[in-house]
């Protein structure tokens, strides 16, 4: 049952991601990408990370993609300007397929090593996924978390400066 569900979701994700790079119209690409993000959120729920799934939808589908759609609408880009040359297409596809082959090859030859942690389904059900994330975010990873806020501030300032400047 779970495997079947995984296969369906994975198939939709792959189909939609192919549509992202195939669609001529950027807005259709954006919508396909949103569908891919939804499929990934579904997979996160299957991986017992409901908080991550919710954040995925809020941040990616609800913020980043809305911004992209907004920019597409603002600039009113209705069609693709044209494709790259045949050489670029061929080389790009070859690189991608090579990358895929390489990952597949090494994955099929490797096995999962590394120390097993203490967080399993029982722990998540008992404490709660959000609580566990919060605990490690505000203790172990406090410094990176604070640095992230500086990154976001820099991004805000940069975006405002770029958008306001007369070019």
């Amino acid at each position: 049952m779970e495997t079947l569900f995984f296969s369906i979701v994975a198939a939709i994700a792959i189909l939609m991601s192919i549509l992202v790079i195939r669609c001529k119209n950027p807005i259709n690409s954006a919508l396909s990408l949103i569908m891919t993000f939804f499929c990934l959120a579904t997979l996160y729920v299957m991986l017992e990370a409901p908080f991550m799934a919710a954040i995925q939808v809020i941040v990616y589908a609800g913020a980043i993609m809305v911004l992209i759609v907004f920019v597409i609408m603002l600039l009113n880009i209705r069609t693709e300007s044209g494709r790259r040359t045949q050489h670029a297409l061929f080389l790009g596809a070859a690189t991608g397929l090579f990358l895929l082959f390489q990952t597949w090859y090494f994955l099929s030859r490797s096995s999962l090593t590394g120390a097993k942690g203490a967080i399993d389904s029982a722990a998540i059900a008992k404490v709660g996924h959000t609580e566990l994330i919060g605990q490690s975010l505000f203790t172990e990873f406090l410094l990176p978390f604070e640095i992230t806020s500086i990154l976001l501030l820099a991004a805000i300032v940069g975006a405002v400066v770029l958008a306001k400047k007369k070019v």
């Binding site: 807005i27 908080f51 939808v57 809020i58 609800g62 911004l67 907004f70 389904s121």
Partner: protein, 339 residues
């Protein structure tokens, strides 16, 4: 979330499906009658009669409207994007309906020897799901205007997009103190935490910010710039006709009901209240919110676009942030259990 291949009890599945059906039925009927109620109340405010011809007191008016919308021509602008044009109304209405899945709409009852929570899904991340779905609802507005390929529709949907993103921020931030007080994203926990006193007593400012933000999220009158009749004809749904327009329209009213229900859940104690049963309290609060929305529509003028952005970014969002800080300090100074 828990076990992978657990086969649930068939009784449980039946009850869940029954709940989903019941909620859908109630929500859709209420939304249809809310349209009627709005027309009657606005007429009463403006000293007119309102629709009173179809059936006793005009009570069959929603049915007549439905037949009218269903029999109209289903038109798509030739230069528009056909697929997106057909998809957009559904994308506007469905997230609003789905949000109701997490709203606890009554006290748990004992039925067939088991405790049945009056809520379709009591998710661990319920509040986050609400935020996620409300951010998805933006796409209906955006794509509706884009697919019509008309300048009024595009302007309306650009305005709508900017407005919804801006007010989503203040809405989310105004809910943070609620989560801090209840110490949970789960909506049933938030309701349970308000047993001693409704959160509106502890968080009047958060409630005010949330109320203004949900007015903007519903695109209701002081904030109805995306569809401003006087300047943009009808904004993002200018080109829509028939049932597709109807879906946008009903979606707006479903949104009012759902956001009213969530406002009741977050700040007014949900289904809790003295004497009367929980179901009545909850729906009473929802209808009170709906009446408030209609009343505001009958009273206030529309904001200008720069005023809208000013209010969202320079007033509500900073206020919400200050409120979060103040709540944090209060919780810190008051110790572990302030309520």
């Amino acid at each position: 979330m828990a076990g992978a291949d657990v086969i649930p009890d068939p009784m449980e599945i039946t009850l869940v499906i029954a709940k989903i059906g019941l909620v859908l039925l109630v929500i859709l009927t209420l939304a249809a009658y809310l349209v009627f109620a709005e027309r009657r109340i606005l007429a009463w405010i403006q000293d007119r009669k309102g629709p009173n011809r179809v059936g006793p007191f005009g009570l069959l008016q929603p049915l007549a409207d439905l037949i009218k919308l269903l029999t109209k021509e289903d038109f798509c602008p030739p230069a528009g994007d056909r697929w997106l044009f057909f998809l957009a109304p559904a994308m506007a209405a469905i997230p609003a309906i789905m949000t109701f899945a997490i709203v606890p709409f009554g006290a748990p009852v004992r039925i067939f020897g088991r405790d049945l929570p009056m809520q379709v899904a009591d998710l661990h991340v319920g509040l986050l799901l609400f935020m996620a779905l409300s951010s998805i609802a933006v796409y209906g507005v955006a794509l509706g205007g884009w697919a019509s390929n008309s300048k009024y529709a595009l302007l309306g949907s650009l305005r709508g997009l900017a407005q919804l993103i801006s007010y989503e921020l203040s809405m989310g931030l105004s809910l943070v103190p609620t989560v801090m007080l209840a110490r949970s994203f789960r909506l049933s926990d938030i309701v349970a935490a308000q047993e001693g006193g409704w959160f509106i007593l502890y968080q009047p400012m958060a409630f005010a910010i949330f109320l203004v933000s949900i007015l903007a999220e519903c695109k209701r009158i002081p904030f109805d710039l995306p569809e401003a009749e006087g300047e943009l004809v009808a904004g993002f749904h200018t080109e829509y006709s028939g049932m597709r327009f109807g879906l946008f329209f009903v979606g707006e009213y479903i949104n009012i009901l759902v956001l009213g229900g969530l406002a009741a859940t977050f700040f007014l104690g949900g289904w809790q209240g003295p004497l009367l049963p929980g179901l009545l309290w909850f729906w009473g609060k929802v209808l009170a919110f709906a009446f408030l929305f209609i009343w505001i529509r009958g009273t206030l003028p529309r904001l200008r676009y720069d005023q809208l952005m000013h209010l969202g970014w320079k007033v509500l969002t900073p206020m919400a942030l200050v409120n979060i800080l103040a709540t944090a300090w209060w919780l810190y100074l008051a110790g572990s259990s302030p309520l």
